[in-house]
Each structure stands twice: as C-alpha cells, then as structure tokens.
Amino acid sequence: MAEISFRQVLNDTLREEMHRDENVFLMGEEIGVFEGSYKITAGLLKEFGAKRVVDTPIAENGFVGMAVGAAMLGLRPVVEIMTFNFIALAIDEILNHAAKIYYMFGGQTPVPMVIRTPGGGGQQLSATHSQNLEAWFAHIPGLQVIAPSTPADAKGLLRTAIRNNNPVLFLEHLALYNNKGEVPEGDYTIPFGQAKVTKEGKDLTVISYSRKAAIAHEVASRFERENKLSVEVVDIRSLRPLDRETLVNSIKKTGRAIVFEEDWRSYGVGAEIVATLQEDAFDYLDAPIKRVASLEVPLPYSKPLELAALTGVQELEDAINALAPRRRRR
C-alpha cells in the first residue's frame, strides 16, 4: 500500500468520485481558481470545469441552501466550508432543511449532500477560527457526522459519505492534512457507525476521534514501546451514528476509560460517550470515566496561551497515569 497524505487522499477521493458519478459536484469559497484554502481541491477545476467545481460568493447560508436544493433534485453536492467556524452562518439550512426535509415531506426526496470542513486549533488562528463545533451537529437527528483520523479512514469514509443518501458533515482537522499513512487502493469504503480499535490494550481505554485519536494512538504506542501501560485506543470515527458496541466491548476488557477530545469539555462528545458507557457497561466500570478536554475559553492567539488552553499529549499522559489500575502499573 502507498503512503499518502491526508490532504492528497481527500483530493484523490473527490476526483475518483467525480469520475464515478457525474452527479457529484463541488461548491465552496475559493475552491476552484485558488484550488481551496488548504488545497484539497487542487487541479479539479482544470479537470472537471466550472460547472462541477463551483466557486461561490462568501455567503454560506446561500450556497449551503443551494446544495440542499441541488441534492433534493438528484445531484450529489460536496460543499466545502472554508473553516468549520463559518458554518454558523449556514446552521438554519443544515438544521432545519438538510436534516429535516426527508422526514417532513414524507420521504419524497432524500438530501444526499456532504459538507466537508476543517476545524480545530493549534494554528494560531485565534478564537473565531479554531473551534470544534461537532457536538452541535452530532446532536441533530437526520444528520450524520464523521471525523476520521487517518488517510485510510478519510478515503473510506468520504466515499461512503458521498454515496450516502443522507446529509453528512465530514469533519477534517487542519493539523491532520499533512499526516501520511498507508491507504488501501481501489474502491475502498468504510460503513458509518463503526468505531475502530486502533491499538489493542488491556489496562485502560482511550476513546477519541479526529486529530486527538491520532495523538492517542501515538501516546499509546509509545507507552507500549517503553513498556509502560497497555493502553487501548478506540477511534470512534463516526460521531453519529455512534458505535456503542465497540465502546462497550473495550470497557468490558479494560474497566477504565478516558475520553480525549479537543472540544470544550461541557456538553461535548465526551459527555455523550460517558453517558453511553454508564448505560451499557455499568457493571464493567472500575472507575469513573475521565474526560480530557480543552480549557473552556475562547482559544487565544498567543502561542504559549494557545498551547496552554488546548489539551494535548501531556494532559493525556497525566490522565492515563492517574487512572491506570494499581496492579497494572509496572
């Protein structure tokens, strides 16, 4: 298998899907001539023309609304929102249209659209350009929310998203774009609602997604190399639908868990996972589940302050060391 960057695999996948299905088309700000702020759409305007790679005005509510309409009429729009933070302008189209139309109109038409958007902090983009708002969307029935952490998962899940008949929020992370990894060739897809145990372990489980799942995997692998604790990592990949079974099976094995998320702590994805585990795995819990999340502040611009506010490797290591069962410490 070839080692490909997260950025390249997204670009390849969009190209392949546009070749496969002529109804697939792209919309977004600066995705055509400029090839996208993060170059995910590089070369696609040249290859497919302006009809299928549409540069839009700076008006998220407008072009997300257009995408909903296009999807209702049989096209498969893939919309890029330049950063996750701008999605606030299109909330009504997503919440009240994309996620509701199939239900409210008696199943007359599905809304097969994808919104791709990069979120997350750590790039000194300050408070309004560094947010993780996935919990807002994962809360909405009728919407599917996907957040891969590896190039392979990005390929498999983006294909599924484009071919899926539901509106999908496909969450990318700025700090993952340059990550490289092996990617299966060919028509590789991953079903939604399947978490992945990215590393087996027996002392405790770290549950995460997106960039933090990649970090958790690194930390757990290092602990194993250094012959410390045996940490299992579960990448949920799909926030809605959530794979409860894989989470519960991991707790049955380890008895202890940490939810590691870049989002603010309160009312987050972590809270949902903790609630799920106490519902479905109560008899297997040996300790309260820990949430490791970021400071509940608008993210500062200053690099030292930004680092201090975002949760990271150190916070995860501390939590693992604090939670590990006594008899499993070496």
């Binding site: 300790a287 502040v297 916070e315 069962p325």
Partner: protein
C-alpha cells in the same frame, strides 16, 4: 468539609466496631481530639480527628461494624449538621461553590455514593453497612463469592476496585487452595441434618471483631501451616526454688516473678541459639528475625490476645516480670495498643495454672512456633534408680515444618530444659 474514615489501627485489622462516640453531632472538634472509640480485632483504640470544625454527621452508630476506609463521620463548617444522622441515607455532596471560569482536564469529583448492601446480598447484619465499591468490583465479588466486607478498598476514598478483588482472590488462593473448590457432598449422608435440627434450640452469638479475627487467623494457620509437635518434660524443682528465693528477696520492691517469666526468659535465650525457631517461612524464604519478641497468650473474657514483650533476650527477669504484668493488666481491660500486639517472633501459651496435664497450641502466623506449657506437678521420677518426688512440667512445641525440622525442635526444647533445670543460667 472532611471525611473521617475508619482507620487501619493494626496490621491485621479489616474492620472496626464503633463502641462509643465521644463527640456528638454539632460538637466543635479540634485536630487531635478523640472522636470515637473503636474495637478492632485486637484492642480498643481511639479515632482522632485530623481536621478541625464541627462534627456535622455521624454515619456509623455505636455498635456498628464497618470496613477500614469507610467514612464514619463528616467534619465541616457546621452548615450541614445532621442530628441523629442515619447511616442509610449517606449522601456526601460537594459544595456548589464557585464554578471556575476555566476548566481543563480536571475530573470533577462526583459525590461519593455508598451503595447499600442488603443482608441477603452480602451476609451483613441489618444494621446497614455501606461499602464503596466500583460496579466491576461488585460484580467480580458476586461471581467469586467474596464478601465485600472482607476486602480492603484502595481506590479513591477507600473504594473497592478490581485491583482489590484480584488481590483478595490471589491471597485466598494462597492461604486456602481448597476453599476455592467446594468439597463434594459425601454420598449417603443427610446434608446438614444435625444443624437444622438443633438450630431452633441454639442461641446465635454474633462474634466480636476480635473473635472474628481469631477464627479467621487460626483457621488460616491450621489450613496453611504444616504443624508438627514435639513434647518434653522439664524438671522445674530448681526453678521453683530459685523463684521462691528471688521473690522473697524482691518482695520489698513489689516485684513478683512468675513461673511464666522464667519460661519466657529461658525461651529468649534458647531462641538466640536457634534462629530458625525465631524465624518465619515466607514466600519460599526463611526470614530470621534479629529481635526476639515473645508473645504471651492472655485469656480475656471475650477471647484471647497475645501481647508482645520486645527484645526479651536483652532484658532481665525483673524487667520481664514488670512488663508482663502490665501487658496482662492492659489485655484484661482492653487497653492494649497496636504496637503492643504486633511484631511477635515466637509465642508461649501457658495453661499451667488451669491444671492442664498436656496440650498443643496452634501457631500464630507468621511465627514458626508456639510453646504450650502445661501444669507443673509433683511426680515420682527415678533418680539413681530410686523414686524421688520432683516438680515436672510438660511442654509441647508446635512447629511450622516448612522452616523447622524435628531435630532442630528437639534440640531447642533440650536447650530450654537445660536452662530451666539450671535456672541460675537465666540470671546471667
């Protein structure tokens, strides 16, 4: 707000019974104040306050027994004073306080919850004992038939977690390999016929902590320590004569040396020569103790205690007599401290005053041996082929065959015999 936990007051303590509250709900408490008296497996002890404030809640009533680590009272500002607090309604809530503007990674401590365990579930009396255990630990305990009261919690706030259950299972496997597999019922024998018939006529006595400990420890000893026994007869005529002379000389000082004091001293000197008898078998190793600390079994109304005289080999008879007297008095009034009960390397059980001709004692682990001393009786013995009346005392040493062998024990007894038959050796 501070929780007061049932402290661990001795090596072997697993639970304690509150015998008396010296502070009442609403009383002001200073650090170091005695809050309550606790009966442990070994003695009556005091629970001191580590925090100052108002005693807000008393969660364990007098007469109730709880495992170590369990919260027994709450000291706080007085705002939440619960008069006559019932232990069944324990709810420890955090002060709402100020919510920090900024939160990161700090797991907010959840209010402690003491899940109730009913008598049916865990064989506990109806006086409401609450055990803090993780759901996993609870499930494992049920699967393995473990009484959570027997398990020491090492998790936050004394919570019993998986580690503790695994420790317990391991220890149980080591101490009684047979206990894990139930013995098959003998065929053709009506099961429990006798006990069913007699149950109606019997009085059921609840054990004190001490009695529970005695039952547990001695069962453990007999089941896990391979005992063997060697006896000997000691001519105490000279020793009794010496004792009489010493006591006559020391009467003005108010010191009275007992026969047992002489035996303690003789054992101490012999133990110096036979370090294995003063040792322990532990995890495939012999542990040879440098100190000679002899426990003397004392009969008390509710059972048996074995206070320890330390460094006996370095002490004279005068000191031994004084210390033994004081320990016996404390034992009978329940005033022994944990240190006075710990650290024994050898024990003596003397039933001489009860007119016992002969008996064997059960080893007090981790010690390697215990000397059972019977009564001294006038006996005809042949001396130069003529019957002569001598004061003969029968002793039996129970020994742990993992560390001690027959010949060693025989020689050890011979040394004691030599010392007691030439009692002036006890003085130098």
């Amino acid at each position: 707000m501070a929780e007061v936990n049932m402290p661990r007051l001795s090596d072997t303590m697993q639970e304690g019974t509150i015998t008396r509250w010296l502070k009442q709900v609403g009383d002001e408490v200073k650090r170091g104040d005695v809050l309550a008296e606790v009966e442990t497996d070994k003695a009556n002890m005091e629970v001191e306050a580590y925090d100052a404030g108002i005693l807000e809640q008393v969660l364990v009533q007098e007469g109730e027994t709880v495992p170590i680590g369990q919260v027994i009272a709450i000291i706080g500002s007085g705002a939440k004073t619960h008069k006559g607090g019932q232990s069944k309604k324990v709810s420890v809530t955090k002060q709402p306080g100020q919510t920090p503007a900024v939160q990161k990674d700090v797991a907010v401590e959840q209010p402690s919850v003491f899940a109730g365990i009913s008598a049916q579930q865990n064989g506990i009396g109806t006086n409401g004992v609450f055990i803090k255990a993780s759901p996993l630990a609870r499930r494992m305990a049920e699967e393995h038939g473990i009484d959570l009261l027997q398990v020491k919690g090492t998790g936050p706030g004394g919570r019993i977690v998986r580690d503790d259950i695994e420790d317990f299972i391991e220890q149980r496997a080591i101490s009684s390999p047979t206990a894990v597999q139930p013995q098959p019922e003998p065929v053709g024998v009506a099961p429990t016929g006798i006990s069913e018939v007699s149950m109606g006529d019997a009085e059921i006595v609840t054990l004190t902590s001490m009695q529970k400990t005695i039952a547990r420890r001695l069962t453990e000893s007999k089941q896990t320590v391979p005992h063997f026994y060697i006896g000997n007869e000691i001519d105490m005529t000279e020793a009794l004569k010496l004792r009489q002379e010493l006591n006559a000389a020391l009467s003005e000082e108010g010191i009275k040396i007992s026969v047992n004091d002489l035996i303690v001293k003789a054992c101490a000197l012999a133990l110096e020569k036979f370090p294995e008898v003063n040792g322990s078998y532990k995890d495939g190793q012999f542990v040879l103790h440098k100190k000679v600390n002899i426990g003397i079994a004392v009969d008390i109304s509710s059972g048996l205690v074995v206070p320890v005289i330390r460094d006996v080999n370095t002490k004279g008879l005068r000191t031994i007599a004084r210390e033994a007297k004081s320990l016996v008095a404390k034992a009978q009034t329940g005033k022994l401290t944990a240190t006075e009960l710990d650290g024994g390397t050898f024990s003596i059980s003397n039933l001489g005053m009860m007119d016992v001709t002969d008996f064997v004692a059960v080893i007090n682990p981790p010690q390697a041996a215990i000397l059972a001393v019977a009564a001294t009786r006038k006996t005809f013995v042949p001396i130069d082929d003529q019957p002569v009346i001598r004061e003969i005392m029968h002793v039996t040493l129970s020994a742990d065959h993992r560390i001690l062998y027959g010949a060693t024990v025989a020689r050890f007894l011979k040394e004691i015999k030599h010392l007691l038959q030439n009692p002036f050796l006890l003085l130098v």
